[in-house]
Symmetry: C2
Subunit: 333 residues, 2 copies
């Protein structure tokens, strides 16, 4: 009799948990997509990149595990990548035509569709933090250039001299491309390592709130104050608790024209298709046909991670309640 009662209690608890738990905690990140092939990447650099991706995922997931919100998880994960010279975001950002650095970032929260973005900042140490500050403490969504730097400074964010973002590696790239007088999406004109280096993260917290963020140094040798997709809500970043969260990386002009991040979420919401299928159609069919290289990472509202790209590789990885931290570089299909 007693054993039946215990079994019943366990059963009720189990079912109760199942019903209460409609989603899992999860974070998925990327460090850029492009023609990343084994022969262009030394074992040492591959190990460094995988270690940094792992550090980023775990930093973001730790926030979720402590009961923190998904916006802070996205910030924690992206800060690790911005602070590493391995990626084209924060330190390690590429050089503009003028030999300077102009960085872009955006973030969005799916519970209330609040969003913030900065374009062309030169002095904010972590552009994604400036985007969050705009989202939380400004009547605006998008600030640009000096104005965005001033806003960040007034709100107490850490600022640096522009040369803080310098790295020899990016400088060599810029020199090589500048001689050809070509514009490059980060590194696609370089023989040594073809990846674009934009970084991004999407997380879902205990409340089921999905946040997505993206941060980049833009294009090597970019001129004319070019703005890519990373600071554009709907292109490089979108989050809506009803559908999904998406962060993109790649040839930004195509991602703007195809409103990639919003289009993927719209397909999930309006066509009732899975995030995986929606992302496959947009990235591997629509963008590929148009000649737009790149990829996205995303989470659906159950916390299932998706990583889709039409290039040879994408620095990427995720952790969920059901899965340990996983990191990948090449196309594993």
């Amino acid at each position: 009799m007693k054993s039946i009662l215990i079994t019943l209690t366990l059963l009720i608890t189990f079912v109760g948990n199942l019903m209460a738990k409609e989603h899992q905690l999860a974070i998925v990140i990327h460090g850029g997509a492009g023609t990343i092939v084994k022969q262009n990447l030394s074992d040492e650099k591959e190990a460094l990149i995988k270690a940094k991706l792992t550090e980023s995922i775990n930093a973001g997931y730790a926030v979720l595990q402590k009961g923190g919100d998904s916006t802070d998880a996205v910030i924690a994960a992206i800060n690790v990548l911005e602070n590493s010279p391995l990626f084209n975001a924060g330190v390690g950002a590429v050089y503009t035509k003028d030999g300077k650095h102009e960085l872009d970032a955006s973030i969005m929260r799916g519970s209330d569709l609040q969003a913030g973005a900065v374009a062309g900042v030169s002095h904010v140490k972590n552009p994604i933090n400036a985007a969050k500050e705009v989202m939380l403490h400004s009547p605006h969504v998008m600030l640009s250039n000096r104005g965005a730097d001033n806003f960040a400074k007034q709100h107490g964010l850490k600022t640096v001299d522009n040369n803080y973002f310098d790295t020899d590696y990016r400088y060599q790239q810029w020199q090589a491309i500048n001689h050809k007088n070509k514009v490059s999406l980060s590194e696609d004109l370089l023989k040594t390592d073809y990846k674009f280096g934009t970084v991004g993260a999407v997380a879902i917290d205990k409340n089921g709130t999905i946040s997505a963020g993206t941060s980049t140094g833009g294009m090597t040798n970019k001129a004319f104050g070019r703005i890519g997709d990373s600071p554009i809500i709907g292109a490089g970043t979108y989050a809506d608790n009803r559908s999904c969260g998406v962060s993109a990386t790649g040839h930004g002009e195509f991602f703007i024209r195809y409103a990639v991040a919003h289009d993927i979420c719209a397909r999930v919401l309006y066509k009732q298709q899975s995030l995986q299928h929606s992302a496959d159609v947009v990235i591997n069919h629509n963008l590929k046909q148009a000649g737009g290289d790149g990829g996205i990472v995303g989470l659906d509202k159950q916390g299932n991670p998706v990583m889709v790209f039409n290039t040879a590789g994408m620095y990427r990885g995720y952790k969920t309640e059901k899965s340990e931290t996983k990191v990948y570089i090449y196309n594993t299909k």
Copy 2:
């Protein structure tokens, strides 16, 4: 026998025309939405505004009638409004916090999803022409600030001193708002005349190509290099021959967060709902609930004009093959 042949021939011609003719030539424009109420507008100003809207519509429609493409029709219509001090675009643009003018514009072509945009230009006489130049003759979609001005100058567009955009009317506005140290969406803090003044146009040509464009002086007293929805493809402007073309006006931050222009086209394409219904849901339900004031004009792929706003009024009008030029100001519901 002969009469039967003639009847048959006529019938075949008639059916042939029906099949060949799946859309009509059409253009729809707006000159801003807001709390536009009769008592705030003198009969003289109302007459001036209606005359200028009519001139804009007819200028755009003339391009379509001559067999021109919808991009040039949009440019022709918007140039009329940019060159008039009555609207917050081109001459008559509002003042920034620094007492200058920073203008934004974007344009998109629905046949191939090509797009161009400029943000924060200070010297291009007609920002919408700079957006077209970016679309047609740049590898980029979005250029900003000095870089965008330089690009326009290098491509032979007419440039002016920043004070070309000055008007006493806007200066008084800026002074009034500057004293309150408030940011205004064009005119919403002013007692005299509440409209926002962004302008836009959507046209469909003989090939069924839909183009949409938007041009604005932004917010009175704006600071921090704020970028609104007008230069954002997917927010203020979107065009896709498979669904519709949309140009928006209103509280830009909401239009960015809700990706209004792309969302309306996505609903038409994915939910198979009419443009009218899709725009009603987004503008009169979603945006209204969120507190986002504004409206849109659009054309579906048959060339049916739609004008939807959740404010007291919107300067607007259209002309199609089936209809004479119509212009409206107030909510006629």
